[in-house]
């Protein structure tokens, strides 16, 4: 994304027509071109609405993937202008097989209020994926029919994929070592 020298960066014009349609319906969304793929950064409050729009009006009948990322320890934060970065991002990839297109939607989720609306009313296939995000990163999806842990045991405490959760390496000892490595 290039800007004029000295002037504030103008929001990039979407090269992708679906992204353009999203930006038209949701004016506060921001478009980004990620290595040739269309990405729209939308507000957390509009998350489920965007999904509904994509499915009903743009033909994205499949939600391919829902995941999230914790940016707590990032070296360089990759964030387009116009998006206020938060600690977590929830990422959803969509596919329109009839149009043979993909689009990605990202919303910022703050640490203090780690929740977003669930996509399961629109895409039932996001069920397991959102449970995994809750289990491993602690982001609650409102409206999900079964917001419980899926991968860790039910009584596990903590959310392992968060950056402040230690990987819990056991020190490895070899025969003859004076001390554990």
């Amino acid at each position: 994304m290039s800007d004029d020298a000295g002037a504030p960066a103008a929001p990039p014009v979407p090269s992708d027509e679906v992204a353009a349609a999203v930006l038209e319906r949701f004016p506060e969304a921001v478009f980004a071109d990620s290595h040739g793929q269309a990405v729209v950064y939308v507000a957390r409050s509009a998350w489920a609405e965007v999904a509904g729009f994509l499915r009903d009006e743009q033909g994205f009948s499949m939600c391919v993937d829902v995941t999230a990322v914790d940016h707590l320890l990032d070296g360089v934060r990759h964030s387009p202008s116009g998006v206020s970065p938060e600690r977590f991002e929830v990422v959803a990839n969509f596919l329109a097989p009839a149009r043979n297109r993909r689009i990605r939607a990202i919303c910022e989720v703050p640490e203090g209020e780690a929740s977003a609306s669930s996509l399961t009313p629109v895409y039932p296939g996001a069920n397991f994926a959102e449970r995994e995000v809750f289990d491993l990163l602690g982001i609650v999806f409102e409206g999900h029919p079964d917001m419980t842990r899926i991968l860790m045991p039910d009584e596990w405490e903590g959310h392992p994929l968060r950056k402040d959760y230690a990987p819990a390496r056991v020190p490895v000892t070899f025969k003859g070592d004076p001390a554990p490595r």
Partner: protein, 429 residues
């Protein structure tokens, strides 16, 4: 001999019912929600647990079923018994080491995992891989598809009671594994497709070995076809079992042979070609009924299509480099380390720190034997990923189990889980 694919020509056997015997209840086709809270068993029903240690759950899958005598009213899949923390481990490993981790997710087709991860990293690096490497990758991916589908034939047969299929399927799979061992050095978890290309060039004599293996596999597939496809017991157990529609598949994010069995010929190799798939000639196999029999046949014929692609790769393999010459990403040849200080430094940096990837994020998807496998990768300019998420097809395909088993018998549930072909390594990661 292999008959032409004729989805409607097989016909369905009429269900024979005795007078007074119980009819199977009609399956309801309402919209599905795979999760849901699990209330206590109501009245005469029984809640039964299948797994996680069970001979036919394809790994450590636990299925809780509510049964009314032999009929399944409801089923819920409980996963997580193989959760390995691989995505957390990926944040500790450099991009060079990442393939060793990713390859153990879908352990029946490890090269697909390596491929999708390598392609995601290369996308973030804007790195182009030489043509020979592209074709080698494609050939290896197809060999892996064959070995995975042969494993499916073996375990599917065994689950349904055709125990001899286990031995037949493994006989041909051993041929493909021998070939993979010759090329990559390992039978499984190869760590062969790496960022920048592949780990080593194809060995001498690979063409003859590959063609010989293809002949054996094609002969084996003809035998399985003759054994099973018109076998009345097989048809009775698989035709009309585990029905699913294309709308349900799309709503539940299901891809791969399960989606293709519903009449929708969606295959990423044709729809969104990667590597050199738009340059080779092959067909996408699909059927229309959406039952277990269809999924068996799709995977059977996909073995033949993969053999077709492999034969084309043998004929048309381009000469050239097997990995990129950019030594910031791939290690220099070992002999050079003795001669060149630069090579030594590159080698040192690659195997200690790894290479840095500019900040960004991407999603790359390929067609694994189970469906669309994707890698969502976030980088921050350092040598380790911020987040590496693999979209495992079996994780989503298991959501199909709910609607498919409802209204069927317990034995059908075994057939259905087997036809989804889940690999728990990529479900739980």
């Amino acid at each position: 001999m292999i008959r032409d694919l004729d989805p409607a020509g097989v016909g369905r056997l009429e269900r024979q019912t005795d007078e007074g015997a119980q009819e199977l209840r009609a399956r309801s086709r309402e919209a599905v929600l795979p999760g849901g809270p699990w209330p206590e068993g109501l009245g005469d029903t029984m809640i039964v647990n299948m797994g996680p240690q069970h001979p036919s759950t394809h790994g450590v899958l636990r299925i809780m079923m509510e049964l009314d005598s032999e009929e399944v009213l409801r089923a819920k899949a409980v996963v997580g018994y193989l959760h390995t923390g691989m995505e957390k481990t990926a944040e500790e490993l450099s991009y060079v080491q990442g393939c060793t981790n990713v390859t153990r997710m879908d352990y029946a087709s490890p090269l697909s995992n390596e491929l999708v991860y390598s392609m995601a990293v290369e996308r973030l690096l804007d790195l182009e891989v030489p043509q020979r490497a592209v074709w080698i990758r494609m050939m290896m991916a197809e060999l892996n598809r064959m070995s995975s589908h042969l494993l499916f034939q073996a375990s599917n047969g065994m689950d349904l009671g055709a125990v001899s299929m286990m031995l037949y399927g493994w006989r041909e799979r051993e041929e493909v594994l021998r070939l993979l061992e010759m090329i990559t050095g390992l039978r499984m978890n190869h760590n062969y497709i790496r960022v920048g290309g592949v780990a080593a060039d194809l060995p001498d004599g690979w063409q003859e070995a590959t063609l010989a293996a293809m002949d054996l596999v094609e002969k084996g597939v003809a035998e399985y076809d003759a054994l099973l496809t018109e076998n009345p017991i097989w048809l009775e157990r698989t035709v009309g079992v585990g029905l699913i529609t294309v709308e349900e598949c799309l709503a539940l994010s299901i891809t791969g042979p399960v989606l293709r069995s519903t009449g929708f010929a969606w295959d990423l190799r044709k729809a969104q070609p990667y590597l050199a798939y738009d340059d080779v000639d092959f067909d996408v196999i699909y059927t229309e009924n959406g039952d277990v029999f269809d999924r068996y046949r799709i995977r059977l014929y996909e073995i033949l299509e993969s053999a077709k692609i492999v034969r084309q790769c043998v004929e048309r393999m381009p000469a050239g480099d097997y990995r990129t010459q950019d030594h910031k990403v791939t290690p220099p040849p070992r002999e050079r380390i003795n001669e060149s200080m630069e090579a030594l430094i590159h080698h040192f940096k690659l195997f200690t720190e790894g290479f840095r990837v500019p900040a960004g994020e991407t999603y790359v998807a390929v067609e694994s034997p189970r469906g669309e496998i994707g890698c969502q990768l976030f980088s921050d300019g350092s040598a380790r990923p911020v987040r590496m998420h693999i979209r495992g097809p079996s994780f989503y395909n298991l959501q199909a189990m709910g609607p498919m088993v409802r209204g069927g018998l317990v034995a059908d549930a075994v057939a259905i889980v087997s036809s989804i072909d889940p690999i728990m390594g990529e479900v739980d990661r």
